[in-house]
Symmetry: C3
Subunit: 323 residues, 3 copies
């Protein structure tokens, strides 16, 4: 089995896998955002449906199947006419290496076209992508702390809907940056799309090592980090980390890093508030803010299914010519 | 979030949610029964299918997904052309209140149109219904001890098929009335439909407090309760309650309250026997009766999927004009 | 309830259930193989889809739902246009007898047409088949150590694709024959199809009692068993059995019974290697062989979904005239 770095593109340059946003060009990301935007409908309107993926089979390989992200991918695939199967599997190279790939080969032999992989250990999605047949695409639905590319795309789409541009924006990502795949993927999206003033805000122990998040300003003070930003992106803090390793407990975390209406007033008056969910209300974000006028958190969810439709349609739609 | 009592109807009077049968009119219940009857097919005939719910998404939110009721709702939705997703979630206001609603808002943002909720604690289905967007419907698939409206409807439909009327009927509900959502919903259906002689039969400790089941005669003697009834509706007894709290153990329960052929002979000769399942054979019902000539238990199951199709078609079909 | 031996055929001779290959004729097996072959597509080509099973409902009743076999049956049914529901249930006659049948009757009343049963204790699939209504078919997806008929068919199909014939072939089945439903079903298929030289190879403690596998030669030496065979069919060894009951531990098992390239060279140069998966690489089979030129293991998986489509189409397609 090959463990080499996987190119997400086919030889003709079309997108085959989506494992990370790190090496996508601005044009590629914008193409996906445009396609996703075409799938967005207002709340209450029927979602778009089509037969674009008729005859295509999508397998969701999730460690824990009852997640919002699984449902989002499942509905995205079904609304494009695909057959969907859900499997609860733990893909890990550590324990069983080749037998993990046997599972993958089995799905491939069952004519599965797209494997959506969640919560595999770091490197596993690339390992799978490097070993499947040419017609199979692998989509990451969240890889360890490394990447969560569809989340990065939906965050970018949400910003674009509200701010109409990326240049000239100031965006603060706040919370456990160090362990966050969401922060990494959103950072890659924002940077590639031309956001100049990108900030990460975290207690020292949750700050990533340099040179990760290159070009971001780093703040341990929330007040400094939020000053005049256009977008505040809060992250979920893992309660298990609370009170350990120099990290304040939940109450003190909220005092220092929780997003309250007062703190939000340091940002621009038209700043939007984002959160990947699930939220710890009263820990990283006050309910007044989560449910407030500036919150676009539910837009993010709606955009999530649109982004997943776009990615599915893109990798499958560009397949026929290339393989 | 609003905790006010939820009106199940839209402003134009059409049915939006189904959480309880308690406040439905006779005309409303009969409309649902008529629609359900149109979906009934004999065993062995293909079930009716249509595209009534094409483009509609139904989410089953069940604490425990492997239940007959989940399969019944899933098949009802699929046969009407809906997309269905199953989630294993515990909806509880006690532990996490607003974060429960975040789950609900997420599903709503994913363009879920109907949320089918099972085994939430009392009050949760109404709390959800009171907070979702106007185009979303909430259907209870069993709420604590409070209500199980589609079961009440299928019981009424089963009685109507066999007895052709409700007036003049005598119906006995037998077993753990106190803790039974089935008993409550069937009671509401039967009373609203005009059943005059409604009886509840239970040991004293399983009898509900007054004034619940108003208008029912109460019997601790099974013989008295069954005398000349047209319908015997047995309930499942929770084995965990056996031998506790003044309740006889399983053997003694069967002696006192088990439905045997001899006891059934106290009812009218053409009386029908119902049970919501799963049955404890040999505890609340003898196998001779469960599988006997007068049993209509399998009809209940068949009617269940028809009732769920009717309710889904009704709440969605009346939506377009109203929202 | 009837516990009598179940005839898998309808009165008109068409196939209604598939519980075992034991009593099928060569013509019946060949008809299923021909139909399955028509559903085979090369890797990368879209799988065949049709509306053959439109309006038909298939229920997968699996003890453990996350298995390759469940996904294979699910995709087979969906690609023929059926509605599919998955249930995680333990069907056991020992504990609850009639209440197991109540579950079955419930599914039948929900208009389930095909019940696919996995991992029930021995005899349960036949018990279910003996009690369902005439229009319902029961398919075994693996019954204790007794039988796994679709695996037997896919093994036969794989041999036929590569060897073009059954007469004159030498086939060795190697491993834990005693506890293997795969070995039993493949043995029945191969014998009925006319394979003359059938061999079973196992340590003495894993050898089945006589007169099972009648007509097979028995070998405790792997070298003798493999000599000049056309097909080597390896079985999965349960690691739990290792080191117990006179069975060698994993390392010694590999030394004595593991299929290495050297051992494989004892077979014919064009011999094919099969394995039902999941494989214990390094225990019963070396990775060099599993991934080698002679391995047809992935063909088996691809043939599996084709065989399941064939069986579903056969039992349902022949139903209308017969019931």
């Amino acid at each position: 089995m090959s463990e080499a770095q996987v190119d997400q593109r086919r030889k003709d340059g079309t997108l085959r896998h989506l494992l990370t946003l790190e090496h996508l060009s601005r044009a590629e990301i914008e193409r996906l955002l445009n396609k996703a935007q075409s799938f967005v409908r207002p709340l209450g309107a029927p979602p778009p449906t089509s037969n674009t993926l008729a005859g295509v089979t999508v397998a969701n390989l999730f460690t824990e199947p009852s997640t919002r992200t699984r449902v989002s991918f499942e509905l995205a695939a079904k609304r494009l006419g695909a057959d969907v199967v859900n499997l609860e599997v733990q893909l890990s190279s550590r324990v069983k290496g080749e037998s993990m790939l046997d599972t993958v080969y089995t799905l491939q032999s069952l004519h599965v076209d797209v494997m959506v992989i969640r919560d595999a250990e770091a490197g596993v999605p690339a390992l799978v992508a490097g070993n499947v047949a040419p017609h199979v695409s692998v989509l990451s639905a969240g890889e360890a702390h490394v990447s969560h590319p569809t989340q990065g795309l939906l965050d970018a789409l949400t910003v674009r809907q509200h701010k109409k541009r990326f240049e000239g924006l100031a965006i603060a990502i706040v919370g456990d940056i160090r362990h966050s795949r969401v922060a990494r993927s959103s950072f890659h999206a924002f940077r590639t799309l031309g956001v100049a003033d990108l900030r990460i805000v975290a207690p020292a122990v949750l700050m990533p090592e340099e040179p990760e998040f290159e070009g971001c300003s780093r703040h341990t003070s929330l007040a400094a980090g939020l000053k005049d930003v256009d977008v505040v992106m809060m992250l979920r803090i893992q309660k298990e980390r609370m009170g350990q390793a120099d990290l304040p407990d939940a109450d003190r975390y909220f005092v220092q890093y929780g997003l309250t209406p007062e703190r939000l007033s340091l940002a621009r008056p038209d700043a939007i508030v984002m959160h990947p969910q699930p939220m710890n209300r009263g820990i990283e974000i006050a309910s007044d803010v989560a449910d407030g006028r500036q919150s676009v958190i539910r837009d993010q969810v709606r955009n999530g299914v649109a982004v997943r439709m776009a990615v599915l349609a893109d990798v499958i739609g560009s397949r026929s010519s290339a393989t």
